[in-house]
Amino acid sequence: MAAHLSYGRVNLNILREAARKELREFLDKCAGSKAIVWDEYLTGPFGLIAQYSLLKEHEVEKMFTLKSGRLPAADVKNIIFFVRPRLELMDIIAENVFSEDKMHSSRDFHILFVPRRSMLCEQRLKEQGVLASFVNIDEYILDLIPYDGDLLSMEYESAFRECYLENDQTSLYHTAKGLMTLQALYGTIPQIYGKGDCARHVANMMLRMKREFAGSQNQILPVFDTLLLLDRNVDLLTPLATQLTYEGLIDEIYGITNGYVKLPPEKFAQKKQGEASKDLPTESKKLQLNSAEELYAEIRDKNFNAVGAALSKKAKIISAAFEERHNAKTVGEIKQFVSQLPHMQAARSSLANHTSVAELIKDITTSEAFFDNLTVEQEFMTGVDTDKVNTYIEDCIAQKDPLIKILRLVCMQSVCNNGFKQKVFDYYKREILQTYGYEHILTLNNLEKAGLLKPQMSSRNNYPTIRKTLKLWMEDANEQNPNDISYVYSGYAPLSIRLTQVLARPGWRSIEEVLKMLPGPHFEERQQLPAGLHKKRQQGENRTTLVFFLGGVSYAEIAALRFLSQMEDSGMEYIIATTKLLNGTTWIKSLMDRPEAQTS
């Protein structure tokens, strides 16, 4: 079921299994039948650790969503709240417990805090007078959740906002803890590199925690050679750009949440003739997207322009495979053919699905609006007229295009120009406020605080230097048979991934100048390995780097790292970890404040 997690260089299934074991242990602590009351936000991430069947095996009979008022009726002995440690949730729990108490039911209550228990929350429960009602108060340390064979995410949505707007480093503490858990399972990571203030903070915490746990560390041969911590604010540009890989586009257009995407049903409905009555065509089609699906693993990271060719090639292979049946003469051959049928049928339905998805996306990518938008993005990235008010943005505002699209573009221009001249800045802001409403002044202030929008302080714009030194723009990006990471944005090579690439070879010393232009310190730390655990590297054996994006990472960046892993001469394999999988839209959204007027 989660086999795809163990295919990669690092067996991430170990992490999943450890998480499952801990969950089972907790469930067994509450003897008897149970109902789980879920903090809704947790159900997605939990689905990646344990399906309902596991819960059922441990006598979980009912599941509810946490909401205020009374708990739904359920004939169970235990009520377990699975919640994030948030005060507002504590108040709801207190309400639930009170209403149960009034009914004099003899149930046992338990709380499982995810990912960590909180004294503040327990204090709140105490103030509400319900703390004593809980038989068990426990924590379920779920920091890093395996999303794929090479991908871990904390799905901590507000991490970037908290770090850069609110100076709240809770997410970084969880990150450090998560990395400690990872090291407990996969061995101490001997080398740590980092760039950015948050990276520095996380590294400091890790080093301190290591001292704290000194002596109790496992004697495990290190699986990771290097950890690279990167602040999202070192590279604000990349997530703003429209991703052009297959997976990136699916995320940009339909949004991928916890490994699933919901798609408009029309393209999928007609294919199932017999069961048309069963499937309501209005219900959107839900697809799971991960490397367990062979075809998807093959095309997810391709530039969308290369997906069509890959799909038709696959179609030919599959129909050829089906044609084989005519060649099967002997009973043995027929038997062999039949044994392969399930696999082939799965491949065929997978092909049908992705052909439909590709068609859906193609309708959008071939539209003029998409093309115009992309042209402007590329102009900004190549530094064309970034210092003036852009007519396309102006027109989009006049046409009242979605605000987030406008913000993405304006922020991108600001980043590429290292800030606006005051006049240009004020113009954009006024346009946005007048068109979309004055309440967005808060959002604009937030974006300014996060550095996504800013007035030009110095006359010097660093971006062209950075672009040239790091070769962020490649004129002749090859979309079909890429030879450089720039294919993921059809020309633009993500800054974050260039930093990663340069670190592997020839090393950051070669780009000291550029690193100084980017915000935050860069650093290197070494962690002492216990004697006898030094790896003896085989000739030609690849090194493994864990790249941790603090504040989020986009699918296109992941694709670029996978591309680097697959390059024959790179000598490096990457495992990716992040606080949140994001795209420009979800990212900007997380930074917005939208008060709703009560005045009538």
Binding site: A398, L433, Q434, A597, T599
Partner: protein, 832 residues
Amino acid sequence: MAFITANWNPLGEAFYRKMELYEMCWSLGDGLRDCLVAAAPYGGPIALLREPHRRSPSSRPQLEIYSASGVAIASFPWKSGPVVQLGWTVSDELLFIQEDGSVLIYDVFGSFKRHFSMGQEVVQSQVLEAKVFHSPYGTGVAIVTGSSRFILATNIDDLKLRRLPEVPGLQGTPSCWVVLTQDRQTKVLLSNGPELYILDNTSCTAVCPPGLGPQAGSIVHMSVSFSYKYLALFTDTGHLWTGSSHLQDKLIEVDTKKTTPPKQMVWCRRPKSQQPSVVLMWDKLLMVAGVCQDNIQFPIEDLCVLVGELDGVRIISSTNQELLQEVPLVCQEIFKIASMAPGALLLEAHREYEKSSQKADEYLREIKEQSMLGEAVRQCVEAAGHEYDSNTQKSLLRAASFGKCFLTDFSPDPFVSTCRELRVLNGVRESSVGLPLTHTQFKQMTLQVLIDRLVYRQFYPLAIEICRYLKIPDYQGVSRVLKHWASCKVQQKDLTDEAIARAVCVKVGDSPGVSYSHIAAKAYECGRTELAIKLLDFEARSGEQVPLLLKMKRSQLALSKAVESGDTDLVYTVVTYLKNEMNRGDFFMTLRNQPVALSLYRQFCKLQEQETLKDLYNQDDDHQELANYHVTASYREKRLDSRLSLLQSAVDEYNKAKNEFSAKATEDEMRLLRFQRKLDDEKGAGLLGLSLQATMEALLALGLHKQAEQLYRDFKVPDKRYWWLKLKSLAEKEEWDELEKFSKSKKSPIGYLAFVDVCMKSNNKYEAKKYVSKVTPEQRVKAHLAVSDLEGAADAAIERKNESEMGAVLARCSASDHLLIDRLNRAAAAKK
């Protein structure tokens, strides 16, 4: 060596030996008479509570604690109430069970630790008899009260008192009783005259030992074995019955021909015993009674105390201490006279070898011929473990080592570990330490427990040396010892805080797993707050320091440690604590010095206490945030005037923050709101809350052109956006004449292609065509194409000699337009 069997006494198939463990170091004037004695198993310490010579109200009994070898550890007069029973816990604590049912706990050095009570009813009825027992659950206490009820506590560290059911017909104390642990239940077995009962949680059942006839008389003494498996009963007619403690099987019944009940009766057996036996002690006689009808009798001169062990019985007298045990089978095989066991031959071979005699070879050959050399080595190693005398150990181990040389494929592990363990055991058996542990006992109690016991006795250097010698991971070994040492060190009253802190730091360093906060907590418990703070400084885990610092009221320090840990929940905890402890001003000042804590508190306020948030910004003169705060607040207002006044505050703050743009924008917002309210009142336009753009849109839709125009001018709306707005609005309402007029009002800032597109969107080709000619040359092809005028598009493209434009036109041509296609192709070719 030849005398090894000299002290062996045969009993049936087995042999019993009595070995001297110690000449006792103590000098007891009155021997063990008139004493309450408690000696802990596994070679534990001995406690004596000696009644004063003359009973008078002023004289107090004297309590003395000795090591098993008789080294005095503590001595003090007993000033509390009358003691019924003494007993040791599994962690070397001494229990005093008093008449009133209170149980006092002292450590091995005689300092009071805590106390508990066996229940309120006992205060009245008094404790008549008490027993301390050990089970897998820990140390337990059982008592019989004056009202003949039994009360049990199975584990004194997790006190749960259980009152057992009444025993029918029992008055005062039973004639004898024992505590049994069976099937995970603790029970009491007691005899009352001729009756024998089993008492468990719920019932009292009369039982009858199989094969013990009524002629045997009533039971006056009973004893249960170390493992609770066997039971021995002694009747008033001198019969000894032994059997399983389940009372289902009988082992033997012997007539001891003694009519007085023994002083003490203890099981003497070992794991894998050949035949369990019982040791009975009378005033001048010690008797070992086994399975056969035979027995062994030892005369004794002095009053003794028997201590049952896992694999024997210790006999403590006022002058010496002996261990009586069944000789282990392997020792029998090796040392029995004329034994031909492989181990015996190997020992002989080695002896000859040391004498440089060729007989060594003969012996060796004999063993090898039977391919028994491996077995021989194993026997020697095992026997060495069982021997107490180090010379015997050495000769056995040397023989084993010698034999090993002739074996190729033999694991050295048992040999090595036995050597190491014996070295440790010999070390702790030293009289100065006084832990007379046998190898079997050591294996059973584990090394961990041995180290704990050394630590309880404060033999720190020895404990550390053992840990290092046996290469135990620091975390479980040295660190635990150091932790205990440090906790003890901080209680040393004659040293200054500095000296202690330094000493602790030097010794403990950063040994893994030693928690400085744990040590500091100890120091604080002893009232040494300053020392505690000093020690906390060494703690690497900042998180650990916080709770103690708060307890010691060092809240500022706690806050900075919490911040240091990075654990935001911990910071929140301290902040909430401070908030309740301090006045508001001090609280804010404290936060000000801790930016991380301050931002977290702000987060908290944002969700929970909006008003406080304002105060915080005010205090920091953070005008920007204050202004944002007012803006946010304004949206929560139901009434427009209060909303406006909040916005006015925001404007003021933005001005103070020198954020001119935001100030201006907020003023604009107020202006817009007033305008909207006015128009809503006048015309019922429903504008309030719309954006400026949406307002103008609505006005145009309502035909209120003048008002829209006014906003356009007042708010300096860029021409482009206004033109777009008006263009779309007019087209939507299909006011084509107005639109044409508008297009001519001045030169369009958005060009004329927009006009074409918008008209086409309303499907009005006729109107659209009007604007095609006005489009700039660059966009002309597009304009023609938009109105599907291919001819015009082609003309424009050819005129402009633009290849890609020609291509765009070509792409739109269908097969019927072949003339046009030719023309375009020719033009394109000409260009090349």
